[in-house]
């Protein structure tokens, strides 16, 4: 982090940067480096064996499948909720707007046991679903429900400010020219909110992929069926297999960064597309 040639106008560069970098290194960078330091001591064949174990592979699969599905559901409902909250007026709107943030404020373990109770075959919602043959608790549907819960504010809160700032003149022009409501939405509004939607989708996806607290109770944790990747790491830690946990964690990190990278690339692609 070199100081650029231009002299700083505001004094205090050294001490501010010093405190920032020291704390960042102590809390985040040095501990994160341990992931790499330890992994390099193990050897590639052991690493490969751990991360390609059948049970581990199925853990990645369940995690990716469920978090992707949850992020898609959140993208759809996130757009609807943001739209309703920005464009319409109705009673208790401010209350509902504040409620969106609940998953950020509610401890994940509490959300986890509440959802499990709600969707078990004797629960308030689960008993009705059970009658029509749908089991939610201790299945992948349950995992997806928990992931929808924790992801919804990400999508709503990234789209809302964009919708609020949207210039209405194009909509009005389209309306005057006789375009239908649906056409106005998909041709004019949707391209405007697409970057924010992608960001929200990516955040919800990445968060769901790493989520533990709210998922672990409702998942049931059956190997090959409802065992998610963070739980595999936890399992390895409980057996004091630190190297195994390390290997699975590195692959999960790679997935998380790939998602963020893919979202970033998509955004660059679309921004080129719209600027032409």
């Amino acid at each position: 982090m070199k100081r650029s040639r231009r002299k700083q106008v505001i004094p205090g560069f050294g001490i501010s940067m010093g405190v920032t970098l020291t704390l960042l290194s102590l809390i985040v960078l040095i501990p994160m480096a341990s992931l790499v330091i330890n992994a390099s001591g193990v050897g590639f064949s052991t690493f490969w064996e751990t991360v390609t174990d059948k049970r581990v592979l199925s853990g990645y699969y369940v995690s990716l499948l469920c978090s992707f599905t949850a992020a898609v559901v959140n993208a759809v409902f996130g757009v609807i909720l943001a739209w309703v909250l920005v464009r319409y007026d109705f009673p208790f709107k401010r209350f509902i707007d504040g409620l969106i943030e609940l998953p950020f404020a509610l401890p994940t373990a509490v959300a986890g046991i509440a959802l499990t109770n709600l969707y078990s075959d004797k629960g308030m919602i689960g008993q009705f679903l059970d009658q029509i043959g749908i089991k939610v608790a201790y299945t992948r549907i349950g995992i997806i429900i928990a992931m929808i819960f924790i992801g919804i504010p990400f999508v709503v809160r990234t789209i809302q400010p964009v919708l609020e700032d949207l210039d209405s003149q194009y909509e009005e022009a389209a309306n005057v020219l006789g375009a239908s409501k649906a056409k106005i939405f998909f041709r004019i509004i949707f391209p405007e909110i697409r970057p924010a939607l992608l960001t929200g989708f990516g955040l919800a996806f990445a968060r769901a992929l790493g989520e533990y607290g709210s998922v672990v109770f409702i998942a049931g944790n059956m190997p090959f069926k409802t065992e998610i990747a963070p739980l595999l790491i936890m399992g390895k830690l409980e057996q004091f297999d630190y190297h195994g946990a390390n290997a699975i964690a590195l692959v999960m990190l790679a997935f998380a960064f790939l998602i963020l990278f893919a979202i970033n690339s998509l955004q660059i692609h679309y921004s080129k597309f719209t600027k032409q």
Binding site: F13, V19, I80, Y88, L106, P107, N175
Partner: protein, 282 residues
């Protein structure tokens, strides 16, 4: 617009509002109702007993302790980092902001794991800790460190966009007139970021108090020693003591609702004060 079109859009409007309310009711309100109804299911006396349990009280104290530490450390970091990033010119600024956001992108389980790999049985810093006769993993310092880690970017992330929107003209003018960095911060910058800073503290508190994954990895679940409130919920639940688990949960639900109300008040103040603050997901 002709009449049928108007009717249609009213129908669409009502349908969308109804859909949103049903979704929020099932996904967000029902879980809260379940917590409260299950907690009170066996009467008010049992509820009070469950909350006043010795281990629950100790867990509450530990949760408060970890949250206070997280807020203090992240306040220091958040102010310095936001100030450094917005007030100075230096290379690799973008890299620095990405590094600060790391705790945001990774699973809380991995957040706990990195401290195990650093300070635990096979950790490279284990010998240093032994020499100092200190324990981090499966002890209170580990819980505090894990909590600080997962909430690390919370405060700086709220302040940076506000400072970027404000620009540096006033600070530079003050500097040219000879004010010290601290004086510029206190007199010029802080009044601008007051609400964003408070907002960051509220978000940090909410996350710190509810953190489960990272703390669960680092705790070792020693009852009365390294168990926070969310872990206490887990222990009670896994012992099939559901009423007590939901009673302890209800305390956390009440705290969460208080935090949401404070958050809304601050947001209202921010809109009144500046208006150019952009709300975003955190």
């Amino acid at each position: 617009m002709n009449k049928t079109n108007k009717k249609e859009s009213k129908l669409v409007r009502n349908l969308l509002i109804l859909l949103s309310i049903i979704f929020l009711f099932i996904m967000l309100v029902m879980p809260l109702v379940v917590v409260l109804s299950e907690a009170l299911q066996k009467g008010f006396k049992l509820y009070i007993d469950a909350i006043q349990d010795k281990y629950t009280m100790k867990a509450l104290l530990l949760t408060v302790e970890a949250t206070v530490f997280a807020v203090i450390v992240n306040t220091v970091f958040g102010l310095f980092a936001a100030w450094s990033i917005t007030k100075y010119h230096f290379k690799r600024k973008r890299l620095l902001t990405v590094l600060i956001d790391i705790p945001f992108a990774i699973s809380p389980i991995i957040a706990g794991l990195v401290f195990i790999l650093t300070f635990g049985r096979i950790g490279w810093a284990k010998e240093i800790l032994d020499f100092l006769d200190m324990k981090i993993v499966f002890a209170v310092p580990g819980i505090i460190l894990g909590t600080i880690f997962v909430t690390f970017p919370f405060i700086s992330r709220e302040i940076i966009p506000v400072l970027q929107a404000q620009g540096n003209d006033q600070e530079e003018a003050a500097a040219i007139m000879g004010a010290s960095a601290f004086r510029i911060f206190r007199k010029v910058t802080f009044p601008q970021i007051k609400w964003a800073f408070l907002y960051g503290i509220v978000l940090c508190t909410a996350r710190a108090m509810g953190e489960f994954g990272a703390v669960s990895v680092l705790s070792g679940h020693l009852r009365g020693k390294t168990v926070t409130l969310p872990l206490q919920v887990e222990i009670l639940y896994s012992e099939f003591n559901f009423t007590a688990a939901f009673a302890v949960s209800s305390v956390l639900v009440i705290l969460a609702i208080i935090i949401l109300i404070i958050r809304n008040i601050i947001e209202h103040q921010m809109k009144k004060a500046g208006g150019n603050y952009v709300r975003k997901a955190s």
